[in-house]
């Protein structure tokens, strides 16, 4: 990645964050001029930055947003929330572009289309604002409601709503308001009403227009505004961004989709018999079904392919077009979908000057120690009293030790970021997710100032989003159900971060229905996640933990939000890759708490060394519970393994030398030295030959040919130059 782009990404992210902060503050206090100015400056600078790297789509979009903010600045009115929403959506889009740029070093190909859409939304949001304040039209607040009724099951996705009240003199002037409405592209529905209820056949003047015409189209707002430009005074136009399809229409949607799927099957049937007829029928049916789904772009595509297929007397072009349409349908854009951009750790980091200064100071002190060691060596060389030199060396070592520890701390603090950087993206996303499933949920964030390693903070977004999405979608109940169980209609989700010794603990707590353990068991049984015996033997807590198992998803209805084929298992995988753990507590009717426990830093690991077969291995101290000595007579074989009993619990025992394929120390001790470790939510014992010391090490991950090696967390060098292999305990008990 070139230096410019790197700098651009770094700066842009900061500006986006700042702008989001300002906009969110404005949402709470719409009259705060200072925040408005701050947001305006951030957008302005962001636009400039996009210009430098020649990211045209981003420049255009931000320019539109800047215009909106400039208008807001010059107006005395408090800021309408829909305008803020669009500005925030614009920042969201920008963030996604930045992610894509970071992953691929270039602007995403779809940026232009997305920019057009976003600009239309931004312009539209202001229009609504202005019209609301103008008195040109007789007000009629419920017109959108009427359109919703008129549109019925077509009321989903992106729509533009028009309210047109023609001039009463229009008919005299020879105008036909219908011809204007009929000329609007991609019309969905039209509704008519009279502006004067008292009108009757007896008293009416047929040349005086008393019509109110409402229309709904799938066209974006800008072309519609353009088409109705002449009647701007008499029209009210609104951009509606609705969930892809309301829940009640899922059945229709599924029906239409399966109808299209059936066409592909029909086409692919062997034989050339009635080929043209089949093409015609499959093409027409698919086009109609797609039209019904509001996918006009795909309709044109399919119709074109049908003509080609007929001309070539081949089914392929059409079948391919229909399949394309199906595929696009399943990946429909929705604002909470985060494009699966590969997580790439940022290559540059902003660091507080004070922290750098601390490093410089430490370097100076280390140089002093270096000189002192050199001096001691010279004294030895000059045959001075070794005892005196040794004493001086010990002092220097103590000093060196202190400095090394300080240096470690200082370096770590350079790499930390507050959780705020990831937390702040959620309040809005949660609101959108909740809106999509017809719930109201507020998100409370706590402990945003808690710091963690930058790599960890950056990697947290995806798993946290997934857990939050689950909390909103499955945890929080419908408003009716909440009311009937005496809870407030608005659900609460708390996102909490705190430092917990060497770890960072993040909790996501909802006040929803909790997890139904019986259903978890039933689903696990049905999907073959765990065997019948295992299920019976499990405690409720262990059964709940199955939610994190691969191939598990409890949602009875697969929704757009959570049912994407990635379950909570992806959360656990991501967190464990970062060296952390995920646990879950749930109380029926009270809610669920998901806890992510992550190491504060990826760099330092505390390990305990053990020896087997004359080799030293490290075990991460986070996994070690205690070390005990177990008499041989206590160890009993169970199945193909061995186990022993400790405090009324049966604990599986793994012989480390056997597992690692080493030769057992034949001088079989009469008692086994066992390290008790916790792994994958359970406790196990590792039998070793000798217990070693504890130390803090900087773990080097396995690289190159050994990169894919399982069971090894990494390596480090011991004081005597030997390589210490640190084992991944989780992997051994899997």
């Amino acid at each position: 990645m070139n230096e410019f782009v790197e700098q651009f990404l770094l700066e842009s992210r900061e500006l986006v964050a700042q702008a989001i902060d300002d906009l969110m503050a404005l949402e709470d206090a719409p009259g705060d001029r200072e925040r408005l100015d701050g947001a305006f400056r951030a957008f302005h600078t962001l636009k400039g930055a996009a210009g430098i790297v020649e990211f045209a789509a981003m420049t255009r979009t931000l320019h539109a947003a800047e215009d909106v903010l400039a208008t807001l600045r010059s107006s005395e009115e408090p800021i309408a929330s829909n305008v803020l929403d669009e500005c925030l959506a614009c920042l969201d889009l920008t963030s996604r572009w930045l992610d894509a740029m970071q992953a691929n070093s270039e602007a995403p190909a779809t940026a232009d289309v997305q920019a057009d859409d976003m600009i239309a939304r931004l312009v539209g949001s202001m229009d609504v604002d202005e019209r609301d304040n103008s008195a040109a039209l007789p007000g009629n607040g419920d017109w959108l409601d009427r359109l919703r009724v008129a549109a019925g099951n077509q009321f989903f996705g992106g729509l533009t709503a028009v309210r047109f009240v023609p001039d009463p003199e229009a008919f005299y002037k020879g105008e036909d308001p219908f011809s204007i409405i009929a000329s609007l592209p991609r019309l969905v529905t039209v509704d008519l009403a009279l502006t004067n209820d008292a009108i009757s056949l007896e008293k009416m003047n047929t040349f005086s227009c008393s019509l109110e015409i409402l229309a709904l189209t799938r066209e974006p707002i800008a072309p519609i505004q353009n088409a109705l430009r002449v009647f701007a005074e008499r029209t009210e136009i609104r951009q509606l961004t609705l969930p892809p399809a309301p829940a009640g229409d899922k059945a229709y949607l599924a029906e239409a989709t399966s109808l299209i799927e059936a066409q592909v099957v029909l086409l692919r049937e062997s034989g050339t018999e009635g080929l043209l007829g089949r093409i015609e029928s499959a093409g027409r049916t698919s086009a109609n079904a797609l039209r019904y789904l509001g996918r006009d772009g795909a309709v044109t595509d399919v119709e074109k392919a049908m003509t080609t297929a007929q001309a070539q007397r081949k089914i392929e072009p059409l079948a391919a077009a229909i399949e394309r349409a199906l595929e696009a349908g399943t990946k429909r854009e929705d604002p909470t979908t985060i494009a699966p951009v590969q997580v790439v750790a940022p290559r540059a980091l902003r660091v507080d000057m004070d922290r750098i200064d601390a490093l410089v100071k430490l370097t100076g002190e280390l140089l002093v120690v270096k000189n002192a060691v050199g001096y001691a060596a010279k004294r030895l060389h000059d045959n001075e009293d070794p005892a005196a030199v040794a004493s001086a060396l010990r002092d220097q070592h103590a000093l060196f030790d202190r400095l090394a520890t300080e240096l470690q701390g200082a370096v770590l603090s350079v790499r930390v970021l507050p959780l705020r950087t990831v937390f702040r993206r959620f309040p809005r996303l949660v609101r959108e997710i909740a809106g999509g499933v017809g719930k109201t949920v507020r998100l409370i964030t706590e402990g945003e100032a808690t710091e963690a390693d930058a790599t960890i903070v950056d990697a947290l977004f995806e798993p946290l989003l997934h857990v939050l999405r689950n909390a909103v979608d499955h945890g929080i109940e419908d408003p009716e159900r909440r009311a009937s169980s005496g809870k407030p209609a608005m659900g609460t989700v708390v996102l909490r971060g705190r430092r917990d010794a060497q770890n960072v603990r993040i909790e996501i707590e909802d006040d929803g229905a909790g997890i139904d353990v019986d259903r978890v068991r039933a689903v696990a049984r049905a999907r073959g996640v765990a065997s019948e015996e295992a299920l019976v033997a499990m405690t409720d807590g262990e059964a709940m933990d199955l939610i994190f198992a691969a191939g598990f998803s409890t949602a009875a209805t697969v929704t757009d939000l959570s049912g994407r084929g990635v379950g909570m298992d992806s959360v656990r995988t991501t967190v464990e890759r970062l060296g952390g753990t995920v646990t879950l507590q749930s109380r029926p009717g009270m809610g669920t708490v998901v806890s992510l426990i992550l190491p504060f830093s990826l760099m330092m690991t505390r390990v305990m060394t053990v020896e087997v077969g004359d080799q030293a291995f490290g075990l991460p101290l986070d996994n070690v519970l205690e070390t005990i000595i177990v008499g041989r007579e206590m160890i009993v074989p169970i199945g193909s393994g061995r186990a022993f009993e400790l405090r009324d619990r049966t604990i599986p025992l793994i012989d480390l030398s056997e597992t690692l394929g080493l030769v057992r120390d034949v001088t079989a001790q009469h008692a086994a030295k066992v390290v008790l470790v916790s792994a994958v939510g359970q406790i196990g014992g590792l039998e070793v030959d000798r217990l070693g010391e504890r130390m803090e090490v900087m773990l080097k991950p396995m690289e190159g040919l050994l990169g894919g090696m399982r069971g090894v967390a990494g390596t480090t060098l011991l004081g005597d130059g030997r390589v210490l292999v640190v084992l991944d305990v989780q992997e051994m008990f899997r």
């Binding site: 219908f178 009403a193 009108i199 007896e202 009416m204």
Partner: protein, 84 residues
């Protein structure tokens, strides 16, 4: 003539009905209070004509021939009829 009184029970709208037809339609409706309107032959209708239909709330015999009328205006009139 695009608005025709077929019999005392039926008023027919035929072809393209311009604004002036609104007045003719109104007169027919007023003199034949029980008449229904048959617009199956109607290709297009000026908003003034449809406004008369909307005010009258009379039953319509359809669907009309014109695409825009059939797809958008007819359902809108149906809905307003239900509300009355």
């Amino acid at each position: 003539m695009t608005v025709v009184l077929h019999d005392e029970n039926t008023i027919r709208l035929i072809g393209a009905c311009p604004a002036e037809d609104g007045e003719t339609l109104l007169q027919h409706l007023l003199t034949n209070p029980k008449a229904r309107v048959d617009w199956r032959g109607c290709q297009s209708a000026h908003a003034a004509v449809v406004q008369v239909l909307l005010v009258s709330g009379r039953p319509l015999q359809g669907p009309p021939a014109g695409e825009f009328l059939r797809q958008f205006i007819s359902p809108a009139l149906d809905r307003s009829g239900r509300q009355v």
